[in-house]
Subunit: 115 residues, 2 copies
């Protein structure tokens, strides 16, 4: 999932779908490579998505009806744009809330302040 990172790869497990969905919600229609660049930027170079995790996850979300695609040809190059479906928009909210709840629970268990 992560080529290299400041963060332990284990910690990031389970967050990929949430990241993809939320970034697509915030930035609208995007293609895979563009998503990796955006996440890299937003994370301060700390999260570098690998294609091996990215593309299968996008395909899976599409197969589940959470994302829809549109293929664009630029010269001879192909780009596959992804955007949220209405089911996808519901899923983003659920996933983000779930992650926030998880983080709060971790704060309680570890007795740390998170701000």
């Amino acid at each position: 999932m992560y080529k290299s990172m400041m963060h332990s790869p284990e910690l990031l497990k389970g967050t990929l779908q949430t990241i993809l969905l939320k970034v697509l919600k915030d930035h609208g229609r995007m293609y895979g490579y563009e998503i990796t660049l955006r996440v890299k930027e937003l994370s301060g170079e700390r999260i570098l998505l690998t294609e091996g995790a990215l593309y299968p996850t996008l395909h899976k979300l599409e197969a589940e009806g959470m994302l829809k695609t549109e293929v664009i040809t630029i010269g001879k190059r192909v780009r596959k744009y992804y955007s949220l479906t209405s089911d996808g928009r519901s899923l983003v909210k659920a996933r983000v809330n779930e992650l926030i709840a998880f983080i709060k629970t971790m704060g309680n268990v570890l007795q740390v302040e998170l701000n």
Copy 2:
């Protein structure tokens, strides 16, 4: 790792060592079953550790010199108490800081407030 939980099991991946180490730091000498109860309480029943994840992880941390053990017999029952070594105390700090950094990065990527 988790028998059942409010939180998606995927999210919890990679947090088990951090949880065990921090709970041992905060509460001192504890045995396995006691740790599951404490974590259950601290998490508001949201994190229910399974033995299948708990014991192998404790054994691994002990093998790495992060924990030391003491076996106590109560009647005919055996308890194995774990406590941090000095290496273990260093590790807790590193792990907790790592998790806090990770959470902050997630906050940036997902554009959410965490408090």
